[in-house]
């Protein structure tokens, strides 16, 4: 079976980059962030997602290595 951490990690990394990037592009648009009391929610939220996505990707790489070394032990 595929490891679910991989698609989760990929999706949140991509979304994180897009949303944080959009936040950076709109950083001087104070009118847009009036709703959120001047807080650039896109940068914060995007950075959080990027971090979560990268952690998931690292965990899935780690899981893959462990599974490989286990199957070496079993077959080798």
């Amino acid at each position: 079976m595929i490891d679910i951490k991989l698609p989760i990690g990929l999706m949140f990394t991509i979304l994180g980059v897009i949303i944080a990037g959009y936040g950076l592009v709109t950083i001087n648009n104070s009118e847009m962030y009036q709703k959120s009391f001047g807080i650039n929610v896109n940068i914060w939220s995007g950075a959080g997602m990027l971090l979560f996505g990268v952690i998931m990707l690292l965990l899935s790489r780690k899981g893959k290595k462990e599974a490989r070394s286990q199957s070496y032990k079993r077959h080798g």
Binding site: M1, I2, I4, P7, I8, L10, M11, F12, I14, L15, I18, I19, Y22, G23, T26, M32, Y33, K35, S36, F37, I39, V41, N42, W44, S45, G46, G48, M49, F52
Partner: protein, 574 residues
């Protein structure tokens, strides 16, 4: 009332859809047998099944309804979680899961067949199949109408498109795909809604500021100033809290009958745990799910409470859409909060979270329906009636796939029926609780009382349901306008609020079902032998060996952590 999304919001949504369908596509090559397609091959780790377990319950109706309830009842709404879900989830994990998983049954109806008899299974399977599809249709309708009202999307287009995506990934990857996507959906719901939790609290200066703002508003409604931020404090008298129920009503109705009926017997939920890789993983599934479950209120109820403060502070310019009678539609609170606080970008993420909650709910319904249809209806009744009685696994895989397509098509039909008769939605939800409460009594007696028999169980299920129907027909909540709320046989008793009526309907159903099952079991002969009941009944099943399991995987240790956490939350928000 409408507001529009920017291009960035649509990009986020499309990326999400691509991943959802991509997961289904990636799992396609594993779908070689009926068991892989309908039972996920019983191969998933417990953190995956645990998150799917609560995600499938975190459907669109739940998210929309609970935020609305936060506005209407405040923190009292958390009773649906801390007392109304956690104890039942712990009970399922510790005491019932060993028999569900250990029996090798592929569904809850099949457990009834193994433990009792064919007719008990048949009754439950048919009721479950019908109500699951109707539930799926209702949530589709709710979502499409929301998108039409608030975003101006075409009703038919959003209905068909969202159904097509759910069909796409469940058809490709079966239960595994539904479960994997539920995990993805869980994270996107959490991450998508966190910004409004922060911003709404920030808006009123945190929890204490919110309390201050709410005091005069709540007092004007005739309650103590801090009522909206308490859980048990004002439940001594029904009239002193907005829910209109006393503490014992909450405890018995919500904490016991309704929640045990839902969490311990609903195949939609139990199926997630049954897909786990081992019996231990299956037992840990509800316990792992319980931890995020008890935190969900902060995500969806707290913003609802802030919405009450927003509504009553004119310079905030926050309004809820009105229905045709001029009443605010509380279910739209969540989407109006998204609109109020979020700029383009995170707004798209929030809307995607709502779509994700809808999809996780619907995929749950469809994947439970196709299993019950294939194993409990087709394999048990339809195929044996044909000339060619036995069929190979490939055939059942095919049947499961067709059932998935048909299930989605019938759901769409049900959504259109719901759009014709709005009131039918409430009535159907009442019917679902009438089916679940007696089922819990029958399954519980089956697992823990070796004497209970098939004839008794069948009569208990039917009798409990009929009593619930009768109770609904003879009572009415105060101020009800339609017969869908009750009293269609004449009014014998009037309840102060609808919730009290629901609690009592379930209590009557569960008690009647227990009485009938116990009495008839004593009057009839047990035809199941001890060997037939091994693995199904407590007395005839060897205990699981739990020695040597590390504490973080030990069901009793996890259960203790869950209970202590729930107690801390209860005391803290008393």
């Amino acid at each position: 009332m409408e507001f529009s999304l920017g291009w960035i919001d649509y990009i986020i949504m499309v990326i999400y859809f691509i991943f959802v369908l991509g997961i289904g596509w990636a799992l396609k090559r594993y779908m070689k047998s009926a068991s892989a397609f309908l039972e996920a091959g019983r191969s998933l780790p417990s953190w995956v099944t645990g998150l799917a377990f609560i995600s499938t319950n975190l459907g669109a109706l739940e998210v929309m309804g609970m935020t609305g309830s936060g506005l209407k009842y405040g923190m009292l709404t958390t009773h649906f979680y801390w007392v109304g879900a956690i104890p039942a989830m712990v009970f399922l994990a510790l005491f019932m899961m060993p028999f569900y998983y250990g029996s090798k049954a592929r569904s809850v109806p099949e457990y009834l067949k193994l433990r009792y008899d064919e007719k008990t299974r048949g009754l439950n399977a048919i009721l479950f199949a019908v109500m699951t599809i109707l539930a799926s249709g209702i949530s589709m309708y709710a979502l499409a109408i929301l998108m039409e009202t608030v975003l101006g999307w075409n009703f038919h287009l959003s209905l068909i498109l969202s159904a097509a995506i759910v069909l796409g990934y469940t058809y490709l990857g079966g239960l595994s795909s539904a479960i994997y996507n539920e995990v993805l959906q869980f994270f996107i719901i959490v991450i998508g809604l966190i910004p409004i939790v922060f911003l709404s609290l920030h808006d009123f200066g945190g929890w204490s500021g919110l309390k201050e703002t709410l005091s005069p508003i709540v007092e004007a409604k005739g309650y103590a100033p801090d009522t909206w931020l308490t859980t048990w404090k004002y439940t001594g008298k029904a009239s002193s809290n907005p829910m209109g129920v006393e503490w014992y009503g909450i405890f018995a109705g919500l904490g016991f009958v309704l929640s045990f009926g839902y969490w311990c017997t609903n195949f939609l939920i139990v199926q997630r745990a049954m897909a786990a890789e081992t019996k231990l993983a299956a037992r840990n599934t509800p316990l792992i799910g319980a931890i995020p479950k008890m935190l969900v209120p902060f995500l969806i109820i707290v913003p609802g409470i802030a919405a009450l403060a927003l509504l009553n502070t004119p310079d905030k310019n926050f309004i809820l859409p009105l229905n045709s009678q001029g009443q605010p539609i509380y279910d739209y609170t969540i989407i109006m909060l998204l609109k109020h606080y979020l700029p383009a970008g995170v707004l798209g993420l929030g809307i995607t979270a709502l779509l994700a909650s809808f999809m996780s709910g619907m995929a749950g319904n469809v994947s439970a329906f196709n299993t019950v249809w294939t194993y409990d209806i087709y394999q048990s009744y339809i195929r044996p009636a044909t000339d060619n009685k036995v069929a190979d696994d490939r055939h059942y895989l095919q049947v499961g796939k067709i059932a998935t397509v048909v299930g989605v098509l019938v759901s769409i039909g049900a959504a259109y029926i719901a759009s014709l008769f709005g009131n039918i939605m409430d009535f159907l939800q009442t019917i679902f609780s009438m089916i679940n409460a007696p089922l819990f009594a029958v399954i519980f007696l089956g697992m823990f009382w070796k004497r209970s028999t098939g004839h008794a169980a069948f009569s208990g299920l039917l009798g409990g349901f009929l009593i619930a129907l009768l109770h609904h027909g003879l009572t009415i909540p105060a101020g009800a306008e339609t017969i869908f709320k009750g009293g269609w046989l004449g009014v014998v008793h009037t309840y102060p609020v609808e919730m009290a009526q629901n609690f009592w309907t379930a209590i009557f159903a569960c008690t009647t079902s227990t009485l009938i099952t116990v009495l008839l079991s004593l009057a009839t002969k047990q035809i199941k032998s001890e060997t037939e009941m091994t693995g199904l009944v407590y007395q005839f099943t060897p205990k699981d060996r739990l020695e040597g399991i590390p504490w973080f995987r030990h069901p009793f240790a996890l259960a203790a952590i869950v209970i202590v956490m729930a107690l801390i939350l209860t005391v803290f928000f008393w």
